[in-house]
Assembly symmetry: C2
Homo-oligomer: 183 residues x 2
């Protein structure tokens, strides 16, 4: 890739971060181009679809996921406390940008989404936590990772749409934790 093209690409990602942060993942792409100082054609050549740009944005988040797992698993207390800490991390990761939770979770089931690899990272992270719970004999029988991811995605989406604060999200996570763990 030519050096100027590389520069433009990086600048677009940088600006997209800001614009998506300000206005959500549905922000007008023409504005991203304008604020990056390039024409719309340039944006669409680098990122043919909105999702391609989303994917580029999320690449940086992905690297942090495992750190969040470890942070949650270091919570003091039993499985329940650790699980809830992780659930809170999960929701907060998904709601970084307005509109992200729904999009990421929707791509969970479909093989051909550009966000596939990203959401898989979240799903894998959740699976590792659930596996740890299972090893401690704390997990109910028949709890499926995909279902838990979708439940958490649903909670995150509701939190996003209703601008809920963590204190409003917590009770929902409590219910899910109760449903996932043995009592």
């Amino acid at each position: 890739m030519r050096a100027d093209a590389q520069r433009n690409r990086e600048r677009l990602i940088e600006v997209a971060h800001v614009v998506f942060k300000e206005r959500g993942l549905d922000a007008p792409l023409d504005e991203v181009a304008r604020r990056a100082g390039v024409g719309p054609g340039t944006l669409y050549r680098h990122f043919p679809t909105r999702e391609a740009l989303h994917e580029a944005i999320m690449a940086t988040w992905i690297e942090e996921v495992s750190a969040h797992v470890e942070k949650a698993m270091a919570t003091e207390g039993g499985c329940r406390e650790k699980l809830l800490a992780w659930f809170e991390e999960y929701v907060s990761l998904l709601t970084r940008h307005q509109g992200a939770a729904a999009k990421i979770t929707a791509s969970l089931g479909c093989q051909d989404s550009p966000l596939r690899t990203k959401c898989q990272t979240y799903a894998d992270a959740n699976e590792s936590v659930l596996t740890e719970m299972a090893e401690h004999g704390a997990l109910r029988e028949g709890v499926d990772n995909l279902d838990v991811c979708r439940l958490l995605g649903g909670v995150a989406t509701m939190a996003d749409h209703s601008s809920l604060e963590p204190k409003d999200v917590r009770p929902m996570l409590d219910v899910i934790a109760n449903g996932v763990l043995k009592n």
Copy 2:
């Protein structure tokens, strides 16, 4: 209201039902107007916002909610079976039209949404079911109706976005039921 205005209004609702069914609640309003044989101005005078039209559409659904509660409560088996039957009804009511689940559930917390009265009907229905569970001593302490509604709204939204079938939704409802009921 003048007779012709009344006719137009009814026709718009009728056509909107069809268009929203075909293309989801985000379908172009101009198309609703066109297919109803009126100008866009007429549509926007009767329904100043998209939500106003949604509200009109949903008015007919609302009447059926209590019938669905009774149907679910007539399920044979214990509290768990009844509750799950109701949860399935709830999700299927919310996913009648593409995009409805998210919109209805988002208006749960906010007092000034035009959909307020509609979502309140769902919330009330759910509360009546939870109350019945509580009277049988089957409900966990501290389970809040609003949280359960949001959880179900989240599941319905995920089902909507990922085009999930009932068999894929059921396991999520199982988790919520486990989280809501005593074991």
